[in-house]
Structures are given as C-alpha cells and as structure tokens.
Symmetry: C2
Subunit: 121 residues, 2 copies
C-alpha cells in the first residue's frame, strides 16, 4: 500500500474512534513511538508493539473522550502528518481538558514504523 493509502486508513479508523484497531492493523512489530516529553522517570520513546500497546491502553483506561477531531493527512514521500484534537476527562483527577497535537508517521514495507507527537508540555 502507498503512504497515502495507509494514511487514509489511519485517519478513517481514528475518526471512528478505532484507535486501538488502527494500531493493530497498521503498526509494524518494531514500531517506535515518541512523545513530546517523557513521563516522570520514563523515556520519550516506546519501542515495539507491546510497549506501544501498553501506552495506548493506559491512555484509553484513564481518559473519557467527550469528542475528538482528526484532520489530514498531509503526505510527503514515506511520511504523513495528522492532527488530533481531543476533549477529554482525565479520570483519576476528574479533570476535563482539551488537547491538540500533530502526529508524524513514517511508513516502510506497508506498515507504520515510526510515530512522533508534537504538542505543548
């Protein structure tokens, strides 16, 4: 599949709130995922499907999503960019907030092998 086909599929699935399913369908086993900042005592980088799946599960468990918007993709060569805007409640603190981020993805051999998120800390 072309970068654009992978990008369009990711966007379509995320718009249907199928974030977990998109990850399982489109990510390579050795996916590298990079956050804008590291959690306390942790690393910005998660390597491999197990680590990335765990990060996704933590997020899904701890946030109630009131609404989300996905824009894009912009495609260039093997890379594409998407924006995510979320209105969520962080359940452990019952704190509602909005967040906006840009995600950059790299595709190789028909799978997403790299993702990096850009947002203010």
């Amino acid at each position: 599949m072309s970068t654009r086909e992978i990008a369009d599929q990711l966007v379509r699935m995320c718009r249907e709130n199928q974030f977990h399913q998109a990850m399982e369908a489109l990510y390579a086993p050795d996916i590298v995922s990079v956050e804008a900042g590291a959690p306390p005592g942790g690393s910005r980088e998660s390597k491999g499907m197990d680590a990335v799946r765990a990060k996704g599960e933590w997020w899904a468990t701890n946030h109630e999503v009131h609404s989300s918007t996905v824009e894009g993709p912009l495609v260039a060569g093997s890379h594409f960019a998407v924006t995510f805007k979320f209105d969520v409640t962080f359940k452990p603190q019952n704190r509602r907030f909005t967040m906006e981020e840009i995600a950059i993805y790299k595709v190789a051999d028909d799978k997403i092998v790299y993702e990096e998120f850009f947002y203010n800390m």
Copy 2:
C-alpha cells in the same frame, strides 16, 4: 498572531518562492532547525538565525528549483505541519531529483521557534 496566521503566512510566502523572506519575517532569533539526518561530521541541529540563514543560503546557492509545491498547513495548538515537494538540480553534480518532506513548526510569542524536517535519507 495565532499559530494559524503564522502558518498561513509561511505557506503563502513559500508558494511565492520567498523562502528567505519568510525566514527573516517569521523566525525567532533563537530558532532551532532540525534535519532528518546530519551532514558528514555535522549536527542535525542548527541553532540561531545565523546558522539557519547559512543553511538556507547553502541550499539556495547549490540547487536550481524547477518547480515546488507547498501543501497545508495542518494546525494544532502551537504547532503546524506543511509539506514541500521540490523538483531541483543539485548544481555541483548537475544531478536532478525530486524530494518530498514534511516540516513541523512550533510558534511562541508570534515567531517560529522550532522547525523539524521529515524525509527519507
């Protein structure tokens, strides 16, 4: 100015091939610019207007641009993404090639303070 206003201005100027003018108008003095890879013996990162200006001048001097396309922006919070597609000749080797990249920008205090380019090496 909002992130979107800065982003729209950058895109408009780049579409008119005013890359240098966009940099002078929109970049903060302490701009940080990050390439996908480092040149031999060099760093991925250029810091400050003098270094970023020098990188831009090297590029402009060594490439003849036959055509260029700018897509975007995608805007999220303080960040935005743009794609650039160039058909250029690298003059020292008289070698014509196309390149596609995604650029991510961060805005603070009405100026671009960070840019990072994503392309295959």
